[in-house]
Symmetry: C2
Subunit: 431 residues, 2 copies
């Protein structure tokens, strides 16, 4: 909390971002990869995604920033301030999207940071250290099932084994794409950034959830990023004719699955009510065999996703769910198999930075909510090598990864403005 006690560099409340320019550039990005119903599809390393990065570089050049693109395509645009050798304040996000996603998940953080930096530079705001806008490659897992690719590489967090199995729907291997860019198993480490060159990482992002809207807050300040435990439960009973098999002779895998689905909701609701750490549990996908109207389901596969901001709560719920799956199967004399998919640890963000952003909101009379992030972000990776903070702006009806994803332009501008203030304070903090 060093900066709180110290005298801060000039108070910057008169300094305002250029809203028109911010929204114009955000629009320009969102037109790349636009499809039905205003959906946006820019899968990592697709031609659309590359084009969005080219446009970003163009905008960065126009702003007169010093640009560095690393081997995988992460873009860093820098303004040096008074002390080019000092560790830099980084701010950014990503431009890649899910299939038929929205316009805001990612670009708001990149263009919001760019606009803040442009404002600093134009107004020649004196800064004690460099400030950088960063655009990370491949934050979404949609193409290769691997999320926060670019930031994981920068943070030195990529496991070789994970990349080996990363293949897209057309059979293209992530490893082959990386090889075409000169990135191999034995030089992966060359992409990491020396933590001593970074002072902090800030990420502006849409909430992708309903909390800010529900509570009528404009800004969310993130305490920590929840991590998912993902696994499949596969119930195997016996497929039978739906007309000829009496109820008492059935081994219906779907009824077993249904019992687990309702249990997951129950246990997560209970824990959320009792525990501090919020827990969410979801069955989002199912596979039913044979899956026809006139057959008792013989095999059902459930995809289960459990998230929390505390590892203990998550582990406890996950193991309760697994126990219950076994219990249900035993009681019905069928089989169940648990197939692990991914297990990650929740990531706490920096408390000092949280206090700073709270302070800024308080000073400017902005209604904010201190909250966890249910979704993963590049900040998860950057938090491993530097102090990291996230600023959320509201998502209409909480919808994201969907063409209906929407954030009010005013809210985006406010987010970028809070980012600007935070960048200034951090860049001029002596800590």
């Amino acid at each position: 909390m060093a900066f709180m006690a110290k005298a801060l560099f000039p108070v910057t409340s008169e300094l305002a971002i250029n809203k028109r320019r911010l929204l114009r550039d955000l629009n320009a990005i969102s037109r790349i990869g636009i499809g039905d119903h205003g959906s946006v599809t820019r899968l990592v390393f697709s031609i659309k995604e590359l084009r969005s990065r080219q446009l970003l570089i163009h905008l960065m050049r126009q702003a007169g920033l010093k640009i560095h693109v690393d081997r995988i395509g992460n873009i860093f645009a820098r303004w040096n301030g008074h002390n080019p050798k000092a560790p830099a304040v980084l701010a950014g996000s990503h431009l890649d999207t899910v299939v038929q996603g929205g316009k805001f998940d990612g670009p708001v953080g990149v263009i919001g940071a760019l606009e803040a930096l442009r404002t600093l530079k134009e107004n020649k705001v004196p800064l004690r250290c460099p400030v950088e806008v960063v655009c990370f490659v491949g934050e979404e897992s949609s193409r290769f099932g691997y999320s926060t690719l670019g930031s994981s590489l920068v943070a030195g967090e990529v496991q070789i084994e994970d990349l080996t199995h990363a293949v897209d729907a057309h059979g293209t291997k992530l490893e082959d794409i990386l090889a075409s860019m000169g990135i191999y198993r034995d030089n992966l480490a060359s992409l990491t950034r020396d933590p001593s060159t970074i002072k902090a990482y800030l990420e502006l992002h849409i909430e992708q959830g309903p909390i800010l809207e529900t509570k009528g807050k404009k800004i969310g300040l993130v305490t920590s990023i929840a991590a998912p435990t993902r696994f499949k439960a596969v119930f195997t009973g016996q497929a039978d004719h739906s007309g000829t098999t009496p109820m008492e002779m059935r081994k219906d895998a779907l009824v077993a699955a249904a019992k687990l689905i309702t249990y997951i909701e129950e246990v997560c609701r209970e824990f959320s009510a009792v525990e501090k750490g919020r827990i969410v549990g979801t069955v989002g996908a199912m596979k039913i065999e044979p899956g026809v109207m006139n057959a008792v389901p013989g095999k059902v596969e459930l995809s289960i996703d459990i998230r929390s901001i505390t590892a203990e709560a998550k582990d406890r719920v996950a193991s309760q769910v697994k126990d219950r799956a076994a219990e249900i199967a035993r009681a019905r004399d069928i089989d169940v198999e648990i197939l692990p998919i991914r297990e990650e640890l929740p990531v706490p963000l920096n408390e000092e930075l949280l206090l700073l952003t709270k302070h800024i909101c308080d000073q400017n009379g902005i209604a904010y909510e201190v909250m966890p992030s249910g979704a993963g972000h590049d900040a998860m990776q950057m938090a491993k090598i530097t102090r990291a903070a996230m600023i959320f702006v509201p998502s209409k009806r909480g919808i994201s990864h969907n063409p209906s994803e929407w954030t009010e332009p005013e809210d985006i501008c406010l987010g970028s403005q809070v980012l600007l203030e935070t960048m200034i304070r951090l860049a001029n903090d002596e800590g």
Copy 2:
């Protein structure tokens, strides 16, 4: 029960079917349309199904029977007996199959009847009336979603409206196929058979359920054929991000669906325990949107199939299920829509014929089970125009509509033998 009291024509217990020939011909039929893992696919009006009918006609010709093929392709092979003008005893089933079905569902009843008739003819058994083997077209609903097509036409039970919507997966209309055979809306009635020309209809069939095997019985005598009520329940909640949407803010359509699935099992088990009429209820298929691991399901469609041998029980359970669906939706503040698919009435089979077949089994020391049929059969339609009876043989593990469908050759032969005895008694009954 006329025939029970009367002096019967010669007792025929010395007369035995030719097991080798029966099994040889059954094998020959099952080789047509054979695929992976011994599966059999002969969809109605496919080249494979037509070829199986050609083979049947060849076998009927070899047996010296008088063959009549009606316009849609139902095959009738007749041996006249002493009184060619008398109403005939019909026995048969179908040769078409589901996609990747088994070797026995249908052909056992056709070849089993043919073998019985061949045995009668070879042994010049004196019969008071004609006996016919019949092969009905299109008993399975797999291609056009319309079941017992051929027997429905013979019984005059086809509703024009049903055929209008019958289209296969490739867009081929059933109506167009019928038109190519000279069958139009205004001459459908020409396919019906005058009920006065039929004395009774007998159908030998595999059980397609586990009851005979479980009870260690070789023969099932069917009291009535259960009918399905089929409908869809479509729950519409709200698709949300699985990480960012707190449990208490969700409108998860899948949890609602899961609650209905467990209720259907519960209510059917209760009714089966209390009511005479056995009830079965199944959710065999589901559609989940968006159906991805990291999204709370916004829309779920359940295919529900409820069957019973009494219409009252079925209606009561169906309406309880619908009520509960509405209740679940109301409690969770989501929507539910019920889309009817098909509603049929259970069909009781003939009590006199049931007594006759029981008598035959008793006389021959055959362990039989008097039972309802959960699955639909051509006998359902024939029962509307004549006295009908069904004889079941055991299905291994109750499996049907599956390459693993299996009935012991000995059991098939026994079924054909019981059919033979029943045909003789009926043909010589004065009633």
